[in-house]
Amino acid sequence: MDMTFIYQIEHHAAFGPLIVLYFFLAGLSAGLFILSTLGPVFGIQKFKPLAKPTSTMALATLVPGLLALVLDLGQPFRALSLFYRVNFQSIMSWGSFILLIYGIASLIYTWYLWKEDARMKTWGKIGVVFAAALGLYTGFLLAVVPGHPLWNSALLPLLFLISGSVAALSLISLTKGFAPKAVGLEVMGSEEGIHTVKVWMVVLEILLIAFHLLAVLTLNDAGRAVVQNLFSGTKQMSFMIVQLVIGMFLPLILLLFSQRSTKILGISGLLSLIGVFALRYNIVFGGEELPQAGTQLYLFEGGSGWWLTAGLLVLLVILLIGLPKILQNMVKKSSGIASSQSM
């Protein structure tokens, strides 16, 4: 029957660009940390040269990620209350403790790793558990919301973990291709392994997205509408062009056919990073855009949020370049103090 809405109100979407950035950086950091531990903690020789640079990259991505999370709060100065007013039913409560323990573990692991202290193995093992939990929980955060069909799926945590790993591998390709010295990736020797893993990860990512969307499509009217919105609605450009074509299929083709040039692999890495960011954007924005009632799409107030996102990405680049140098100096100083004390 024909319906003409005479009066309805526009509602404001809950999550904005800073949450997209946080999900992106948290997954990236988790992926980088896991990669870093493969060599020194789990004994895969091929990945040993990656350990130190990726450990600092994991920290460098975590800092702007945490800032994005806190800046997004309506009451940022109350952020610490997350640790003393705990609701164990809330995934966000779990997430704040996962973040806390992961942050501490990755800090200590990185320090011992750069000092070449054997204690890094213990902290690496603790960190890797919480890194995986971090990658998964960002997906769980959305998966437990029953009102939004695009979020309400057990595949989402896995998709976020896998795409976070793709982002981590892509950041390595990108920095190796364009600024190897700046991040300490001159000697690597594990390119082949990285690219093989990345190809499989991207394939898995594409399959997970396909399975997820197929299930959502057949769920109900809301599910069909949200998938249609991705393919032919307001999210067509960001989903079809940016996420799928530029961010997934193009880098996959580059990876399969141009493995010899580090520059092309660097470009493939950059495109994959854009793709993973677009994936987070489309899931978060696309998932909450459709109304629960009536015909009005949700309002997004992203103006200042997008500027802050850009600022935090600049901070990320500064940290990626600066952190290895700072850490190197600190390690030198601390070993200098240690040797002078022993004399």
Partner: protein, 200 residues
Amino acid sequence: MPENKSHYGMVIDLRLCVGCHACTVACKMENNLPEGFFRSWVVEADKGEYPTVTRVKLPRLCNQCESAPCEQVCPVKATHRDEGGVVVVDSKKCIGCRYCISACPYDARYIHPKKGTADKCNLCLERVKGGLMPACVSTCIAHARYFGDLNDPMSEVSQLLSENSYQVLRSELGTKPSVFYIGLDGALAGADYANLAKRR
């Protein structure tokens, strides 16, 4: 909910609602709400084609779910239960993370632009504690809104629910709302995905 405790709820008889929006205005004045944000509002639509056309109305507010997704996801327990099982937000504890807003399947919550904390209908609990009715109920010119204790079989709301067939919004989600509608038109109960508005 235990029988010996009160369980506040609302019944809205849509057969009587005239769509005057007095409830929306009374709510805004009583709770001093910021411009562009509502705790209570009325959706109106025309159904059908001339000459067989009907105006359908749906007053909306927080559904005071017994199994409330907002209460479950709040990481700092700022969303909690007060007297009569009413779901309220403690604005002194809320960190403004917006998780409850995304979890609410009834669009009932928003971030207060000045306070930076989540806000929604609390059934005018301060008025209720003082022996008054919620502002929207007091002001309703058509006597379409009723408030009371759902656990008290003699209350007006319980009597209405026992005498009439009633509906709740989005029952498929299992949230067990405490806001009941008599004469709800199914066309207004969910979104109209075929006619989504274009993004400005």
